[in-house]
């Protein structure tokens, strides 16, 4: 008994220490985390940290890096391998956890970290062929010696950094989530590019439209409510642009049942409407007489930010811009001679085929039985045995949904996916060559390798050229091919010939002196191939309206346009809506706000809140009213189409005025409540937040005070918006301005973590510290230096 009492303290200590040393549920091991030597305190970076560094790394030559006061690294190397080695090392130094997590997620490996609850997510990633597509692209990337060198250098750089880490040096999120970095492999870069392709081309309307066609609408009505080309579109490639003689003709629409029937949908269709803007002015329209290029890609707003600013120079390359941690090279930026940017090109490159399954090994195609190719996906699950998922591959592509993994809307037939992102392609080579392009000709050479996700590439150079390409790999489709879910047994539904990329719609130095794209339709009726897509027009209308009248433009005018909050939707609809209310003698404080409104979604605007709340209720009830059996909230006609119908053609909308009045009354009730709760200022209601990737609230920035909305140029939504704003004036030495909602460091314990957000919110820009080839950094620009010498570490 006495011995027991004596052992008691030891037992108690051991139990407590043991308990503090283990994660409990999803909570981290507290003892480890709170340890001031190796826990989170090790990530509390001194605000005055001296980042100067001397390093020995296995390089081929010397590498010099200097950082400016925003911690933007400028790398100077003597060859490609060293350049990308240093880029990989620096990406990992600042952003390791994010690169690791995003590429694990892309490849369906989240269950390793979070356990059983992520298995369905991982299965879907695998089943839609994320890893399959990445393997295909990796083959293409490793076949080309240029991208092979870039990938290998980049990988070795990351791994040199990773292997230098003790556990206490791991980024904080590893400690919180209880996992460790692992060696980078080239497939991770391919997965990151696949993740972008999925983000930008992954959500299509095929299933929703098939449901409409099966249950509610005639083909004529589909065209009416969901037109392939909306009336009045100002396309990416300006109307009237001459397209060269096509090398192919559009195939005839095959006879017979081409689509499947889809039963009632159970769930909401996926949210669409990711947007971006880009434009370029020719010298005729600028004050300096030199072109100006602008780009602001809209993506999910996260911390650490998706982007990381850098300058990369080595023989043959000197480029500045936004890089993607996880991939070598600059994605959006400029060099001594040219600048370029992207918006997403929403031509549909992802189609579904219903599979006529005979048994577990065979399916029917064109009257004969074909064997599935089986691909076994092994999903590791934290604290559980591995999950094995056998995915059937058909000649169309992987069967994403079948009875082992049901289609969320309740379609019972197995569905296979035909997706351009699965094709072997080397987008990295495109970026590699773009970074080095010196002329329009080299630009077009470079972008021909960019196949998926298709992008509208804007271009400007110091010679004074501006250009725009709707670039990607497309299929020569018969009319409406792939718009609905196709019968997979029918050989006439197969994708046909690929359209040569040189025939993609494009324009160089148009008469109008400017070019722009904002995810709208790509080109007008003169273009010879058929396509459909998920296009939006409102932002494009506004940009073109402003650019059409712009002269003597300065970069400040461009800043203003990127931050423009004017809504064409509101401007066109509000007078009509107010008239309807006035006719009924309704007049109250909310109407008065709208009467005085300038249709800008400004941060402090109360009228913007009134309009948006009203419009949202009106829009939803209008379509609910019209199609009683539509599942609530699912894929309604576009706001711009709805606007056109309200203003010009109410014939099929039912009793519109009654809906307008009842929705106004509902809106007024909601607005009364909002006014009491928080106030009616638009930014409070919208609550734009930049969310930490692991959704940790204290590491996120919430409720930023900004205006804008999805239908305005400054497309600031709740968790989505301009992820990198760039304006480049193409002087003899290009002068760039930019800002992104984040900071160079991914460490929430660093003062460089969220540094740029305030400026981004206010619509301000940093002058980018680009140094031309052979030039020296401006006096006082260099804050820190790294000298890296070759040698064993």
């Amino acid at each position: 008994m006495r011995i027991l009492r004596a052992i008691l303290p030891l037992m108690l200590t051991v139990i407590i220490v043991y308990w503090l040393n283990r994660p409990i549920g999803s909570n981290p091991a507290l003892g480890k985390l709170l340890d001031p030597v190796g826990g989170f305190w090790a990530n509390a970076e001194p605000a005055g940290k001296d980042f100067n560094n001397l390093l020995n790394l296995p390089l081929k030559g010397d590498v010099e890096v200097w950082f400016d006061d925003r911690m933007v690294p400028h790398i100077k190397a003597s060859g490609d391998y060293d350049l990308y080695f240093a880029q990989g090392y620096i990406h990992a130094y600042f952003r390791l956890w994010q690169m690791d997590l995003q590429t694990r997620a892309a490849g369906g490996r989240v269950s390793e970290l979070l356990g059983e609850k992520a298995v369905n997510f991982d299965r879907e990633q695998r089943r839609k062929g994320m890893v399959y597509g990445a393997e295909n692209s990796l083959r293409a990337m490793e076949r080309d010696p240029r991208t092979k060198t870039a990938l290998d250098g980049y990988r070795d750089g990351i791994n040199a950094y990773v292997s230098s880490l003790e556990e206490r040096d791991y980024p904080l999120e590893y400690k919180l989530m209880g996992f460790a970095p692992e060696k980078w492999e080239n497939i991770r870069t391919a997965l990151l590019l696949m993740y972008m392709a999925d983000d930008l081309t992954g959500k299509v309307q095929d299933i929703g439209l098939t449901y409409y066609l099966s249950n509610l609408l005639t083909p004529e009505e589909i065209d009416y409510y969901f037109p392939d080309k909306i009336e009045g579109s100002t396309p990416v490639i300006p109307a009237g642009t001459e397209f060269g003689e096509p090398t192919m003709s559009i195939p005839a629409v095959p006879p017979g049942e081409k689509w499947i029937k889809v039963p009632a949908l159970k769930t909401k269709a996926g949210e669409t409407g990711k947007g971006s803007n880009n434009w370029a002015l020719s010298g005729e329209r600028t004050a300096s007489g030199k072109p100006i290029l602008c780009n602001d890609p809209h993506l999910a707003l996260n911390l650490p930010s998706l982007w990381f600013e850098m300058q990369l120079s080595a023989p043959g390359v000197n480029v500045y811009g936004a890089t993607l941690p996880g991939a070598p090279g600059v994605v959006i930026g400029f060099n001594d001679r040219v600048s370029w940017g992207f918006t997403n090109n929403y031509r549909d490159v992802k189609d579904f085929y219903a599979i006529d399954k005979i048994d577990k090994d065979n399916y029917r195609f064109s009257g004969t039985a074909r064997k599935f190719r089986k691909r076994v996906e092994v999903i590791k699950v934290k604290g559980q045995p591995d999950v094995l998922d056998t995915v059937d591959y058909t000649l169309h592509g992987p069967v994403i949904y079948d009875d082992s993994f049901e289609e969320p809307n309740g379609i019972k037939q197995p569905l296979a996916l035909r997706w351009m992102a699965h094709m072997e392609s080397n987008e990295l080579l495109s970026l590699y060559l773009l970074n080095r392009a010196k002329s329009y000709n080299e630009f077009t050479q470079a972008i021909q390798y960019f196949l998926c996700p298709a992008q509208n590439f804007i271009y400007a150079d110091v010679e004074g050229n501006i250009a725009l390409w709707g670039q990607g790999q497309y299929v020569n489709k018969w009319k409406e091919q792939g718009k609905f879910v196709m019968q997979g047994y029918d050989s006439t539904t197969l994708w046909g010939a690929l359209i040569p990329v040189s025939e993609n719609p494009h324009v160089l130095n148009p008469q109008q002196g400017y070019l722009s794209s904002a995810n709208q339709n790509v080109c007008d009726g003169d273009y010879c191939y058929w396509f459909n897509g998920d296009f939006n027009e409102l932002r494009a209308w506004r940009i073109n309206e402003v650019l059409d009248t712009i002269h003597n433009a300065s970069v400040k005018d461009m800043f203003r346009l990127q931050n423009d909050e004017h809504s064409i939707l509101a401007r066109k609809l509000t007078p009509y809506l107010l008239n309807v209310l006035a006719a009924k003698n309704i007049d109250d404080k909310y109407m008065q706000l709208l009467q005085r409104w300038n249709y800008n979604y400004a941060a402090e605007s109360e009228a913007a809140t009134v309009f948006q709340v009203w419009w949202s209720i009106l829009y939803n009830s209008l379509w609910q009213e019209k199609f009683v059996s539509f599942p609530k909230g699912i894929m309604y006609p576009l706001p711009e189409r709805t606007m056109q119908l309200l203003l010009n053609d109410k014939s099929r909308l039912g009793n519109v005025e009654a809906v307008i009045i009842s929705s106004y009354k509902k809106a007024a009730d909601s607005l009364d409540k909002l006014r009491q709760q928080s106030g009616l200022e638009w930014y409070k209601v919208k609550n734009t937040s930049i969310t930490h990737l692991a959704k940790l609230k204290p590491f996120s920035i919430e409720g930023v005070q900004n205006g804008g909305w999805g239908n305005t140029v400054n497309a600031m939504k709740g968790n989505h918006g301009p992820s990198w704003r760039m304006v480049v004036e193409m002087n003899d030495t290009p002068v760039g301005y930019g800002v992104y909602p984040g900071g160079q460091s991914g460490n929430p314990g660093s003062k460089y973590y969220a540094t740029f957000i305030d400026k981004w919110v206010r619509g301000e820009y940093y002058k980018l510290s680009f140094v031309s080839s052979g030039g020296e950094p401006a006096k006082g620009a260099v804050k820190y230096r790294w000298q890296i010498k070759p040698g064993k570490k």
């Binding site: 052992i7 030891l10 990530n43």
Partner: protein, 118 residues
């Protein structure tokens, strides 16, 4: 004087070994010191508590000032505690582990002595 030296030596050893091995050296070092120097149970607890407490106060305050509280503010929100309370809890946790380690050491030493006597 001897008390002060014991405290300093415990703290220094705990600091060094934490770097080399793991955070729970803050229990092991007070334990070993209590065994080797045959500290009394009460005093051994205090020695662990004070030495580790002081060590953690020093490390945490130094880091926090240099970091301008950027991270500790965010972490305290993550824990749902006020900033000062969070730091207090963090430090007391270390001190308690140190104290428990010391007390265990003294008890083990007492058993050993009793075993020898019988």
């Amino acid at each position: 004087m001897r008390m002060l030296i014991t405290i300093i030596i415990t703290a220094l050893l705990a600091w060094l070994t934490t770097y080399v091995f793991a955070w729970w050296m803050v229990a092991v070092m007070p334990f070993l010191i209590a065994v080797i120097w045959q500290l009394k149970p009460g005093w051994s607890f205090l020695n662990g508590f004070i030495s580790i407490g002081l060590l953690w106060v020093y490390l945490i305050v130094k880091t926090d000032i240099a970091n301008e509280q950027i991270l500790s503010q965010r972490m305290s929100q993550l824990f749902g505690l006020g900033h000062t309370l969070f730091l207090g809890v963090n430090i007391v946790l270390g001190a308690l582990i140190g104290g428990l380690g010391g007390w265990s050491g003294a008890s083990m030493w007492k058993i050993y002595k009793r075993e020898q006597r019988t």
